[in-house]
């Protein structure tokens, strides 16, 4: 029974993710003073992509790339408690399991794109991995004080430990929260840090050789990714929520990143990495010091 | 003594009767020089302040069997265009390159070589420029019949025949057909 439940759960989250992406395009459109596509447009896009007759593939690894990417994000989803609703696994997802599974996605996509031997793809992958040096550290350093404060490494217990509104981790650790926001912008690959899929510079980066169903898989991967990344952020900083409030929280956070994305130009890669070693790093260190002093 | 006249007198004094200079209209002086006087003229004018090599064009006088190369120079402080035109015979058209005087001439000469078939001695790269793997004779020459080429290349023969036929226009001299 749990397998069926597992599929439904994954399908539900994918659809919600796609709706988020539709909402994002709608919001960006309205910011640019135009109507923008219907909210369910990404779902149509994905269906169209899967309806594609035959697409080019450059080898087994090329076609398995998106498969591994989706595996990574789906597995992370299962280890991530959404609000106080834990997924089918009673095993309360551990921070490091989630962090390391999060990396499987980009690695799988990188392997696939590498096989396509397109210079644009290679530049895209190099940027994606170097960016990790930037935002991944800040994200980890931002969430570390919360885990240390509540004396546990499992996300589920962190959620339970936080009480009602006044004592959310976001309130207790404001500095880390802001640093976390900076990191989230990079983690989601939004505009100032949208170097990986920079359509104007490197023709949509690693996805340059992916068409048809591969692109469909990558779209779903991106959709679930949104839910997982914002979900992780909300879990850590906003304490116990019912499922509805959880998705509301994730939408608000996602809304913030989309707004920044709509108005910001794009960094150069070394600027982006160097940016992360400036203000956000300082903030996260302050956050850690705060934990030491406060505790 | 407007600026154009001073330049006209200046050119006439330095190059004497070899050069025929006339002021066509305000801001434009035209000089007809023989073939071998072009480069010294260019050098002299550059040194006199005509820094901008605006254009190099070629006119195909098929009747007289001549190509007319027109070098357009322009000076900012005088605000005057000087057009040096010279006539070279058509079949084996060769001309010394102007690159070492004006760098700008590099691409113009390549284009004219490709379109008219003028050989510029001393030009480093006279290979394919705009037209990719073009096999026929240089297309801008008058003896290249575009309509016949279009017919056998793209098969667009009937339409032009019955809709309108153009009678052969009489030749009314330079600058006349606008």
């Amino acid at each position: 029974m749990s397998i069926l439940y597992f599929f439904l759960y994954l399908l539900l989250v994918t659809i919600i993710g796609l709706l988020y992406m539709g909402a994002a395009r709608k919001i960006t459109a309205h910011i640019q003073n135009r109507y923008g596509p219907p909210v369910y447009q990404p779902i149509l896009d994905v269906l169209k992509l899967f309806a594609k007759k035959d697409t080019a593939s450059h080898g087994i690894m090329h076609s398995l790339g998106p498969v591994i990417a989706y595996t990574g994000i789906a597995a992370t989803l299962l280890f991530l408690p959404l609000g106080n609703h834990t997924p089918l696994l009673h095993f309360n997802g551990d921070l490091f399991v989630v962090l390391y599974l999060l990396v499987v996605g980009p690695l799988g996509m990188a392997l696939g794109a590498g096989e396509s031997a397109n210079s644009n793809a290679t530049i895209g992958i190099a940027r994606a991995l170097s960016m990790m040096l930037g935002y991944e550290i800040i994200f980890f350093m931002a969430t570390l004080p919360v885990f240390y404060h509540y004396g546990t490494a499992s996300i589920y217990r962190v959620i339970q430990a936080q009480g009602a509104f006044p004592d959310w981790a976001a309130i207790l650790f404001p500095i880390s929260f802001i640093a976390g926001l900076f990191a989230l912008q990079g983690l989601m690959g939004e505009k100032p840090f949208e170097l990986v899929v920079a359509p104007h510079e490197i023709a949509s980066g690693p996805m340059v050789e992916y068409g048809g169903k591969y692109l469909g898989l990558l779209q779903i991967w991106h959709a679930v990714g949104i839910i997982v990344e914002t979900g992780l952020f909300v879990d850590i900083f906003f304490g116990p929520q019912s499922i509805l409030w959880f998705f509301a929280g994730t939408f608000i956070v996602f809304f913030a990143t989309v707004i920044v994305n709509a108005v910001m130009p794009r960094f150069r890669i070394e600027q982006a990495v160097r940016f992360y070693w400036g203000l956000p790093l300082l903030l996260s260190i302050l956050g850690i010091l705060q934990v030491y002093i406060w505790r | 003594m407007t600026v154009e006249e001073t330049i006209k007198k200046d050119i006439e004094t330095t190059f004497g009767e070899l050069v025929r200079v006339e002021i066509e209209r305000k801001h434009r002086v035209r000089a007809y020089t023989p073939r071998n006087m072009v480069l010294p003229m260019l050098a002299y004018l550059k040194q006199r302040g005509f820094h901008q090599f605006t254009l190099l064009t070629c006119v195909d006088w098929i009747k007289d069997g001549k190509f007319e190369l027109v070098y357009n120079l322009y000076s900012l402080n005088y605000n005057v265009h000087v057009l040096i035109s010279t006539k070279i015979n058509r079949d084996k058209a060769t001309m010394p390159t102007a690159i070492n005087v004006y760098e700008m001439a590099f691409d113009y000469e390549r284009e004219i070589h490709e379109m008219f078939g003028v050989e510029f001695e001393g030009h480093p790269r006279l290979d394919e420029f705009l037209l990719e793997d073009w096999k026929g004779i240089p297309p801008m020459r008058k003896d290249f019949d575009t309509r016949k080429y279009v017919e056998e290349k793209y098969g667009m023969k009937d339409l032009t025949k019955e809709l309108f036929t153009r009678k052969e226009q009489p030749y009314r001299g330079p600058g006349s057909n606008g």
């Binding site: 395009r25 459109a29 640019q32 003073n33 135009r34 109507y35 923008g36 596509p37 219907p38 447009q41 779902i43 149509l44 896009d45 269906l47 169209k48 899967f50 309806a51 594609k52 007759k53 035959d54 697409t55 080019a56 359509p199 104007h200 023709a203 949509s204 996805m207 340059v208 050789e209 992916y210 068409g211 048809g212 692109l215 | 037209l131 990719e132 793997d133 026929g136 297309p139 290249f144 575009t146 309509r147 080429y149 279009v150 290349k153 793209y154 098969g155 667009m156 339409l159 032009t160």
Partner: protein
């Protein structure tokens, strides 16, 4: 599957490969005044990801080589829209030595928009026309390309060296 047909018509990803003078018409269609994204049409960077190819204006032999290669790199089903009269019969370049006269001979075209560069409204109208054609299942010019592949190749061979430029299927 009707749902797939619906999805295919509603989300057309346009290959941002503007070939002729019509390219200048596309920005206004994309931006806030006309906003073609309302109809699910967004410009994509690579042929692999797109299914709609716009030939906007006259097509010289040089760009034809690239267009054919881009066309073959697009996954099927793919649609082509020709802008202006130049794609129909060569337009005002009817007697020019390097402009191809009939786009039909080289790649199958689903839809033509007449007008010596149609305005954005005409373009949006064409997109909606294409959407209907897809819904009705008429827009299968791409099948023609696959069925009489040799004929297209023969025509192309007249104009440029096909061996070097076309993809080995």
């Amino acid at each position: 599957m009707k749902l797939f047909k619906f999805a295919q018509s509603r989300s057309l990803w346009m290959m941002h490969f503007c070939t002729g003078c019509g390219a200048v018409e596309l920005p206004p269609t994309m931006t806030s005044r006309f906003d073609m994204e309302r109809f699910g049409i967004i410009p994509m960077a690579t042929p692999r990801q797109s299914d709609l190819l716009l030939i906007t204006g006259y097509l010289t032999v040089k760009t034809l080589k690239r267009v054919v290669r881009a066309y073959e790199q697009m996954p099927t089903p793919r649609y082509v829209i020709g802008f202006g009269s130049c794609t129909i019969n060569g337009g005002m370049y009817w007697d020019s030595y390097n402009v191809i006269k009939k786009l039909e001979l080289y790649i199958p075209v689903d839809l033509y928009i007449n007008g010596c560069m149609p305005r954005p409204e005409a373009i949006i109208d064409a997109f909606l026309k294409l959407r209907e054609m897809i819904d009705k299942g008429e827009a299968n010019a791409w099948k023609k390309y696959i069925e009489n592949y040799e004929w297209y190749k023969k025509n192309q061979a007249e104009v440029f060296d096909v061996e070097k430029w076309s993809l080995k299927k």
